[in-house]
Amino acid sequence: MGVRQTEEMVLNIGPQHPSTHGVLRLKVKTDGEIVTAVTPVIGYLHRCFEKHCENITYEQIIPYVDRCDYIASMNNDFGYVLAMEAMLEIEVPEKVQYIRIIMAEMNRIASHLLALGTFGLDVGAFTPFLYMFRDRERILDLFELTCGARLLYNYMWIGGLSHDIPPGFVEKTYEFLDYFLPQLDEYNNLLTFNKIFIERTADVGILTPDLAINYGVTGPNLRGSGVKWDLRKDESYSIYDRFDFAIPVGTGIKGSVGDSWDRYWVRAEEMRESVKIIRQALDQMPRDGDVREAVPRRIRPPKGAIYSRSETPRGELGFYIISDGKPKPTRVKMRSPAFTALSVLSEISQGWMISDVLAILGSLDIVLGEIDR
């Protein structure tokens, strides 16, 4: 009999794999089913976003921003135009402010639906995924009605919007909100409180508050760890201070604080809060006004730099823009929330099984378009 020996196996998950949410590659070192090390390899979707920005004018950047986090383009646009408006010191009309909030929150719901659906798919639940896609479709229909695009909108312009909301939009949105709230309970019955789903996600991939803060994790992932930090409340931008909404945080109902289930739950509850915000915004919105009123003819910001951040469905999206007075920026740096979320993966998935690593990855809700840029 020879000498018996065991050996660690390196498993290459991706770049072509059903559940890497884009083209991500994970080098996973496994001891049987147990994972001893995870190394994410990124860059398969790199498109030189930041370098591109240096060669085009400020308003031409917006479509590129769309393509970074393509699941929540409205929120990305919002972040960028906020930065530019602060730089140019533009006062944006009331109506535009409200429409922007409505669009951003609707896109937040759409993004969370996709995040939760694919998370369900990662743990093997197929049906909730399609239910969530069905409802996301209704939001996309509303976007299509407004700006003609279903995924990459180029809707928010510096100082205004590309189109006013079409007639009937407000009624249709109210209709959608009435339809959507009961659906949230259906998802909860089908997936959230399913015994197997809880078994798979509770206590799995615990992200402690300290670890989350040290890595700079933001958004629902941070709030899932019990840290109440949301830019919409804590550093209120645009007109978010006019609305009444809560910030859900993970409390470890099913396991411990910061586990995958908590991250799921925070997103599920955030959709409910977004519905509240949209309803209030629709109620308060002034019905007439020109949305292109404040759009400047010529954009040439003064010399200087600005860092502006906003809360997208994935967390804090920051834009650092340097201008030297020319129509093109000298430097645009984007702080990607999904990138920091991915960076904790190798830390929190050690010692779990292969299936758990994919569940944890799903719970972090990354978008590769934004990570690679």
């Binding site: 059903p18 559940s19 743990v123 093997g124 639940a125 049906t127 399609l130 239910y131 798979r200 292969i354």
Partner: protein, 361 residues
């Protein structure tokens, strides 16, 4: 109709010139083709039904294109036929690094395990291909034979995903066979026979005034045994929530990652054949086989076939319902369900059946 009846019939008809060995071979070929036909038709129908059921559950419409008069017809009823034709003519790919012989053999071994189990099924009072005294034991024995095919497929593909799938699958099937077998033994104890027809005949009549005298209703322990068997059966057929060997979000496609075309179709075929076998055993042992649920009403050899198939189809639909509702368990949770819950309960259950039988005389 049994094989021996077929041999006699061949000998006594104008085919008598074939002699006994010729009649034997002819009978084997005819019954083999009949089973293959059943398996293939069942798979084609079940895949179509599964796609439609899942579509309706998920607020979709499912396949609508391929109907009679292709592309123009209704409800896509020929979709799976078209798929099967496509698979038949597809390029046959064998990876360069694969172990050629084993790679080619594996799907057929797996299919064989499911296929030969059909011989002992009592389709109706008079129709079972081979009615022999260890029928139940035989089916359980040959259906665990298929696992060799799974492991071969995983190993021969020379792919890490396949290997993981095969290892998981081997562990899973072995673990779940024990509670499944023990819960079947509970009924075998009551009947005193392993013959499938005997087990079915022991369930004639009415119990509690209105329920059919099936083993699921006969006493509380056999009632429990049915559920243990069915859960273990779902696990043995690798279906959700126990589909970890081919979990597409983790292992791409598990043991059949490298397979394509007709070989892949054989994996598919044996999955559906296994589903049929598992549901057929549950039907025979717990749900009265070909017995009518209404006592003497609509009973008889021909109606029996209908009832038998109807009960199987019902159980298959339940399996589909599971698949499109539940998430998937993790591999260690899967093991603990089997060893920590199902196995102790099934032992307790076996004991309970014995006590019940002793007390009720």
């Amino acid at each position: 109709m049994t094989i021996s009846w077929l041999i006699d019939w061949v000998n006594n008809s104008w085919l008598g010139f074939l002699g006994v060995p010729g009649a034997f071979i002819l009978a084997i070929i005819v019954s083999g083709l009949a089973i293959f036909g059943l398996v293939a038709v069942h798979a084609i129908v079940a895949v179509y039904v599964e796609r439609k059921v899942s579509a309706f559950m998920q607020d979709r419409i499912g396949p609508m294109g391929q109907g009679p008069g292709l592309h123009a017809g209704k409800w896509g009823v020929l979709q799976t036929v078209a798929d099967a034709l496509k698979l038949l003519v597809k390029e046959d790919i064998i990876p360069a690094a694969a172990d050629r012989k084993l790679f080619i053999m594996a799907p057929f071994i797996l299919f064989l395990g499911a296929f030969i189990g059909f011989i002992a099924l009592p389709f109706s009072e008079t129709l079972s291909l081979a009615n022999f005294n260890v029928g139940l034991f035989y089916i359980l024995a040959v259906s665990s034979f298929g696992i060799v095919g799974l492991i071969l497929a995983g190993w021969a593909s020379n792919n890490k995903w396949s290997l993981y799938g095969a290892m998981r699958s081997a562990a899973q099937i072995i673990s779940y066979e024990i509670p499944a077998a023990i819960s079947l033994i509970a009924v075998v104890m009551l009947v005193g026979s392993l013959n499938m027809q005997d087990i079915t005949r022991a369930q004639t009549g009415i119990v509690l005034g209105f329920l059919p005298n099936w083993f699921i209703f006969q006493n509380p322990f056999t009632f429990l045994a049915f559920f243990i068997y069915f859960i273990a059966g779902v696990a043995e057929t690798n279906r959700t929530p126990f589909d970890i060997p081919e979990a597409e979000s983790e292992l791409v496609a598990g043991f059949h990652t490298e397979y394509s075309g007709m070989r892949w179709a054989f994996f598919f075929l044996s999955e559906y054949a296994n589903m049929f076998i598992v549901c057929a055993i549950a039907t025979v042992v717990f749900l009265g086989g070909w017995q009518s649920p209404f006592g003497e009403f609509l009973a008889g050899p021909y109606w029996g076939l209908l009832w038998f198939m109807g009960k199987i189809i019902f159980l298959v639909l339940v399996m589909m319902w599971f698949r499109w509702t539940f998430p998937r368990l993790r591999v260690d949770q899967l093991m603990s369900v089997s060893w920590k819950f199902l196995l102790p309960i099934s032992f307790f259950n076996l004991f309970g059946v014995g006590i019940w039988e002793l007390l009720s005389g």
